[in-house]
Amino acid sequence: MNEFILIFRHQDGNKIASPEQIQIWMKQTMDWIGSITAKNKYVGGNGLPFQDAKVVRHKGLVTNGPFGEIKETIGGYVIVRADSVEEAVEFAKGCPVLQGEGNSVEVRKIAGGDGVH
């Protein structure tokens, strides 16, 4: 069993939604995570608020970021347990973030202590 991180990429984090729409979206996220938890495959996760975001660059240059330079922003991630990357991809397909056109979920295996990496 490996651990995979599912990274939510938003094309535009500043879309205007009504509170109601945000709330619906939140419930869908809870349902989605609930379904992974029910299989005992949920490890953890977190949201990454855009506020107080900084990017530290080469030679210690610090900018407010990631806005302005990259339109795409990372809104959060979850970590799941899966037997294969295919299983992790199946989990990712249910992520409500994907309802937004242009959004994506990146699936990456987390390096484990199995001597392979």
Partner: protein
């Protein structure tokens, strides 16, 4: 996961509170910032709650985050001002960074004051409704566009101009002077009633939004009733009127979304709780010595909750329409009066009265004539209904007329 059982509409109910409080604090000059901070607060919640679990007290969490975001914003302005314009530094001292007051009292006051500010005669009525929906009801741009049957760009432009106007006119978020309350309340009640009608007669196919508009209008009116200063007879009358109308909400459309004519509605589906609430507020409204159009319309609406055709019913309704037309003439009221007249004095007398009105660009004029001629002159009845069909723009309206034609 218990956390999935979220309090329904939590975000919507809190949105308006946060915007109202922040806007009062910042002034209309920065209304967009207040809206941004509120939206941002919900976005943060949506990013954090599903993954970290619901906070123990979600509302308090929202206020805490909104307050911090607001403070950060004020701090940034303060830094900017002190660096760019040192002479105004004193203005942005402690006083400017004081706590954002999110006490229940201030939240309620801010919302009421916001209501008066938005319903300012300086702004055109459709913008007042748009702003009310956005700021007081927390509707999304798309939802507002859907309610108005227009596109997002139009709504965005309309809201933009309305906000500009609020700034230009330097409208303050405050209670009107006590001596002006009645006068200013009139504009607020007009907007609330328009909001309700927008939902009740909406052309939108989205029945959820239609119902929400009505419920929001009733909620705003209820806020006025709950406040001592604004709890005036006309406010109670309007609330009574909306309760009576809304009581038929479930009966007006069938399962396929087709309109059900009044005479064919299933009384079992009428909401008796709302009807008795309407009676309660109508009773309270009958104090003081002024009769508003809402008093009369509410009284008429209360008779509509009794389906039986009694002589007493129609004589009273006719009398009420006579009074209503004296207070404020409207084509619809004039047509409805003639319908009541036909019930009291018979169709033979009502038909010439109706034809005198000559409202040949009004769909309801032809619908009324079509009904009056039903059972009297089949050809004329059909001809009038056909004219009405041409003038009717909404699909539901057309369906209703076609139903009447089928019955002839």
């Amino acid at each position: 996961m218990k956390q999935q059982e979220l309090i329904p509409h939590l975000f919507r109910t809190e949105y308006r509170k946060i915007v109202s409080v922040l806007c009062k604090r910042f002034g209309f000059g920065q209304i967009e910032i207040a809206e941004d901070i509120a939206s941002d607060t919900f976005l943060t919640a949506a990013q954090s709650w599903p993954l970290n679990g619901l906070p123990e007290n979600p509302v308090a969490w929202l206020y805490f985050v909104a307050r911090n975001k607001a403070k950060n914003h004020l701090q940034r302005i303060s830094v900017f001002e002190s660096k760019v314009a040192p002479e105004v530094k004193r203005e942005f001292s402690d006083q400017h960074l004081q706590e954002i007051d999110l006490s229940p009292q201030n939240i309620n006051d801010s919302q009421l004051q916001m209501m008066f500010a938005i319903c300012n005669p300086a702004i055109p009525p459709e913008s007042q409704i748009g702003l009310s929906l956005r700021i007081l009801c927390g509707f999304g741009i798309e939802e507002i566009a859907d309610a108005f049957l227009t596109n997002k760009e139009t709504i965005n432009k309309r809201l933009f101009r309305a906000r500009e106007k609020l700034r230009e006119e330097n409208i303050k978020i405050e209670m009107p002077h006590l001596s002006q309350i009645e006068e200013r309340l009139e504009a607020v009640l007009t907007t609330i009633y328009l909001l309700f009608n927008e939902g009740y007669f909406s052309m939108s196919q989205n029945s959820v939004i239609r119902k929400d508009l009505c419920l929001e209008a009733m909620r705003l009116c209820n806020m006025l009733v709950e406040n001592k200063i604004t709890n005036k007879p006309a406010v109670n009358a309007l609330l009574a009127l909306m309760c009576f109308q809304a009581s038929r909400f479930e009966a007006r459309f069938d399962q396929n979304g087709q309109p059900v004519l009044y005479e064919e509605q299933d009384i079992e589906l009428w909401n008796t709780e709302l009807i008795s609430k309407g009676g309660y507020f109508l009773n309270i409204s009958s104090t003081g010595n002024t009769i508003s159009k809402y008093h009369l319309e509410a009284s008429i609406a209360s008779w509509s909750t009794q389906k039986d055709d009694t002589r007493e019913k129609w004589e009273t309704v006719l009398y009420l329409y006579d009074l209503l037309l004296q207070i404020e003439y409207s084509p619809v009221a004039a047509l409805n009066r003639i319908y009541a007249l036909s019930k009291v004095k018979g169709k033979a007398e009502a038909i010439p009265e109706a034809e005198k009105l000559k409202m040949t660009d009004n769909q309801f004029y032809f619908t009324l004539l079509g009904e009056l001629y039903t059972g009297v002159d089949r050809e004329k009845s059909l001809q009038n209904f056909r004219e009405a069909l041409v003038l009717t723009k909404t699909e539901t309206g057309k369906q209703a007329i076609q139903k009447k034609m089928q019955r002839i």
